[in-house]
C-alpha cells in the first residue's frame, strides 16, 4: 500500500511539473507579453523598456526556472493590471469556484447514481427510459440555455432563488444545478452499465444464493464494484467544473476562477493566467490522486497485490 501510495504521489508531482512547463510556454509563445502589456499604440521603445523591466528579454529557460523558484517559495507574483498579489486575487476567486464545483458535483452524483442503479435494476422499463431521456437531454441541451431556463423559472417566474451574484449559499443553487446537470449523463450511463455488468457476476449470484437481502446484494456487492470507474470519472468532472465553468460563472455573475481567467486573458495579465493554469492543473492532479486512493480503499485488489 505504501509503495502504491508513493508511486501515485510521484506521478502526481510529475504531472504538475509537466503542466507547469506547458502553461508557461503557452503563455509566452502565444504572443509578445511585453507588447500586450505596453498596450495598443505603444512605441517600440516603450515595448523594449517593458521587456527589459519585466525580464522578457532573458532566455526562456531562465525565465521558467525563476518562475518555478518563486512559486515553490510561495510567491505567485503580482498582477500588473490589478496591482495586487496574485495570491490575494486567487483567494478572492477560488472559494467561489470551489463551492460551485463541489455543489455541482454533489448534485450530479445524487441525481445520477440512484438513477443509474435504478435503470440497471430494471432495464428496458419506464425508469430506464426516463433515465435515458434525462441523459440525452442533458447532453444535448447547451448549458447556457438550461441555465437561462432555470433563471426564468426560479428567479423571474417563481421568484424563489437569486439569479445573480454569490453572497449567500442560495446564490449557488441554480449555478450548481446548471453545471452539475451537464455532468449527470456520463456518470449515470457509467453507473448503469457498471451495475448491469456486476449484477451478472458470479459473486453477486453467490450473494443471492446465500439469501442476502436485495439491498445488501445491490449496494454492498454490486454498487461497490460499479462505483470504481465512476469515482475516476467524477474526479475528472470536478476538475473540469473547476476550470471550465466560465459560461456558468458569467451567466450567474459569480466571480470565480473561470471568470477571472477570461478577464485576465483579455488583459494579457500573464502572472494571473499562469497561476490559474497551475492551480487548475494541480487541482486535476490532486483530484485524480484522491480518486485513485478512494478506489484503492474500495477495491482491495488495487492495494494488495
Amino acid at each position: 500500500m505504501l509503495i502504491y501510495l508513493l508511486k501515485r504521489l510521484l506521478m502526481t508531482i510529475l504531472v504538475i511539473a509537466v503542466t507547469s512547463v506547458i502553461a508557461f510556454l503557452l503563455v509566452h509563445l502565444s504572443g509578445d507579453p511585453a507588447a500586450a502589456m505596453a498596450g495598443e499604440g505603444a512605441s517600440p521603445a516603450d515595448i523594449a523598456s517593458v521587456r527589459e523591466t519585466f525580464g522578457f528579454d532573458r532566455p526562456i529557460v531562465f525565465q521558467y526556472l525563476e518562475w518555478v523558484g518563486r512559486i515553490l517559495s510561495g510567491e505567485l507574483g503580482r498582477s500588473y493590471y490589478l496591482r495586487m498579489d496574485v495570491s490575494d486575487i486567487l483567494a478572492d476567486h477560488l472559494p467561489v469556484t470551489a463551492t460551485l464545483g463541489v455543489m455541482a458535483l454533489s448534485f450530479a452524483l445524487l441525481l445520477s447514481i440512484p438513477l443509474g442503479v435504478a435503470a440497471a435494476l430494471r432495464p428496458n422499463t419506464v425508469i430506464d427510459r426516463v433515465a435515458l431521456w434525462l441523459a440525452v437531454a442533458g447532453q444535448a441541451l447547451p448549458s447556457f440555455l438550461f441555465a437561462l431556463g432555470l433563471m426564468y423559472l426560479f428567479g423571474v417566474y417563481l421568484r424563489v432563488l437569486p439569479i445573480s451574484g454569490g453572497t449567500t449559499w442560495a446564490h449557488f443553487i441554480m449555478p450548481s444545478v446548471a453545471l452539475g446537470y451537464y455532468a449527470t449523463p456520463a456518470i449515470m450511463r457509467l453507473t448503469r452499465s457498471g451495475m448491469m455488468d456486476v449484477l451478472q457476476s458470479d459473486h453477486v449470484r453467490t450473494a443471492r444464493a446465500y439469501g442476502l437481502s436485495s439491498w445488501r446484494v445491490v449496494i454492498r456487492h454490486g454498487l461497490r464494484h460499479a462505483i470504481v470507474p465512476v469515482v475516476s470519472l467524477a474526479a475528472v468532472q470536478l476538475g473540469f467544473m473547476l476550470g471550465g465553468s466560465i459560461i456558468i460563472e458569467s451567466i450567474f455573475s459569480l466571480k470565480g476562477i473561470g471568470y477571472l481567467a477570461w478577464e485576465s486573458i483579455q488583459r494579457a495579465d500573464i502572472e494571473v493566467i499562469q497561476a490559474i493554469l497551475l492551480v487548475i492543473a494541480t487541482a486535476y492532479a490532486v483530484l485524480t490522486l484522491l480518486a485513485d486512493l478512494l478506489n484503492a480503499a474500495l477495491d482491495p485488489r488495487i492495494r494488495i497485490s
Partner: protein, 345 residues
C-alpha cells in the same frame, strides 16, 4: 426412511421465451433427494442441469419461466412460495457451491466478513459468535491457520482454498441440502480429489442431502448414491450409482462411459469414444427422441414420437429408469459403435 425426502421435485420445467420462439432448456424433471443421500446429475453443457439447480434455488434469471407440479423441501411446498420465503431458505436450508471459486467470492470483502454477513442474515448472532463459527468451519474444511484466513481477501487464497471457503460458507447455517454445481471443474486435478473427498466426508458426517452436478462421470464414482443422467433438458436414465456405471442403459450414458479412459484397460494410443455432434438447441416441444441425431443405434421407432421415461426391467436394481426404446438387456448394440466413426474417417 419413508419420511418425506429432503428434496422432492416433480415435473420441473423451465421455459425461456425469445422473440421468435420459446426455449425449453428443462423439460420436466423429477428429482428426489433423501436425507444423507448424494444424487449426481450428469450431462454435458447445455443439458439443463445447471438451470435445474438454479430453479431449485429460486435463482432463475428474470426472463425464465418456472413451472412444476411440486418443489418441496422437507415436506414444505415451495411451488407457491414467495420471493421472501425463497430468500430465507437460501443459504440457510439450501446452500449452493459454485463452479469457479476464483469469481464466486466477492473480491472486496475479507473472508471473515463474507461468512459473518451470511450467518447474520439468517441467525441472530454477535460478531464474536459469528467469528467463532467461521473459525470452526474453516478448520473443519481443512484450511490451515484459519485465524489468518478470516482477515484475508479472496484473491490472496489459492483456488483450492477458496473452494474450501465456499464449502465452509455452505455449512454455516447447517443446511439440509447442498447443491454443488461442478464444484471441481475449475480446479487442478490433484485438488479435485481432495475437494471431492472433503464433500463426501462432510456429507457422511452431517447427513445432509447433496446434489452433485457434473459433466464428468469420473467424479461421480465413489461419491454418489444415485445418478440422474440428463440430456437435452430431460432425464434419460436414473439408477443407483454402481449399477449405472457398471451397466449403462441409455445410449447417451453408454457414450459418456466410453469417453472416459479406464486405468489399466485403455491402451496407450487407443482412440477414446466420443459422442458425435452437439446438444441441439432446445426450441419447441419434442416430437421424437431428443438424442436421435447423435445415437449410433437410432432406427425408425426413435423418430415416431417422444420417448417416455420407463422402468427398465433389469435384475440389478429396482430403481432403474431409462428413456429409450432399446431393450434394457443390452441386446442389439455394440460398444464399438462409439469409436467406429473415427477409425473409419
Amino acid at each position: 426412511m419413508e419420511a418425506s425426502p429432503i428434496l422432492d421435485v416433480r415435473n420441473l420445467k423451465v421455459d425461456i421465451p425469445l422473440t421468435d420462439a420459446v426455449l425449453h432448456p428443462v423439460r420436466g424433471i423429477d428429482l428426489t433427494v433423501a436425507r444423507g443421500e448424494t444424487v449426481a446429475i450428469v450431462g454435458e453443457s447445455g443439458c439443463g442441469k445447471s438451470l435445474t439447480a438454479l430453479a431449485i434455488m429460486g435463482l432463475l434469471p428474470r426472463n425464465a419461466r418456472l413451472t412444476s407440479e411440486r418443489i418441496a423441501l422437507k415436506g414444505e411446498s415451495l411451488t407457491s412460495a414467495g420471493r421472501k420465503r425463497w430468500r430465507q431458505l437460501r443459504g440457510d436450508r439450501i446452500a449452493m457451491i459454485f463452479q469457479d471459486p476464483m469469481t464466486a467470492l466477492d473480491p472486496c470483502y475479507r473472508i471473515g466478513d463474507q461468512m459473518r454477513e451470511i450467518l447474520q442474515q439468517h441467525r441472530r448472532v454477535s460478531n464474536k459468535e459469528a467469528r467463532q463459527r467461521s473459525l470452526e468451519l474453516l478448520g473443519k474444511v481443512g484450511i490451515p491457520s484459519p485465524e489468518d484466513r478470516l482477515s484475508q481477501f479472496p484473491h490472496q487464497l489459492s483456488g483450492g482454498l477458496r473452494q474450501r471457503v465456499m464449502i465452509a460458507m455452505a455449512l454455516l447455517c447447517e443446511p439440509e441440502l447442498i447443491i454443488a454445481d461442478e464444484p471441481t471443474t475449475a480446479l487442478d486435478v490433484t485438488i479435485q480429489a481432495q475437494i471431492l473427498r472433503l464433500l463426501r466426508d462432510i456429507q457422511r458426517e452431517t447427513g445432509i442431502g447433496l446434489v452433485l452436478i457434473t459433466h464428468d462421470l469420473g467424479v461421480v464414482a465413489g461419491m454418489a448414491d444415485r445418478i440422474v443422467v440428463m440430456y437435452g433438458g430431460e432425464v434419460v436414465e436414473v439408477g443407483a450409482c454402481d449399477d449405472v456405471l457398471a451397466r449403462p442403459l441409455h445410449p447417451y450414458t453408454e457414450g459418456l462411459m466410453h469417453s472416459i479412459p479406464v486405468p489399466g484397460e485403455t491402451r496407450q494410443g487407443q482412440t477414446l469414444g466420443f459422442i458425435p455432434g452437439v446438444v441441439p438447441r432446445q426450441v419447441g416441444e419434442l416430437t421424437r427422441c431428443g438424442f436421435l441425431e447423435r445415437c449410433p443405434y437410432a432406427h425408425a421407432k426413435c423418430g415416431a414420437g417422444p420417448i417416455a421415461l420407463r422402468d427398465a426391467d433389469v435384475s440389478d436394481g429396482d430403481d432403474r429408469m431409462m428413456r429409450c426404446v432399446l431393450p434394457a438387456d443390452g441386446s442389439g448394440r455394440s460398444p464399438e459403435a462409439w469409436v467406429r466413426d473415427v477409425e473409419g474417417a
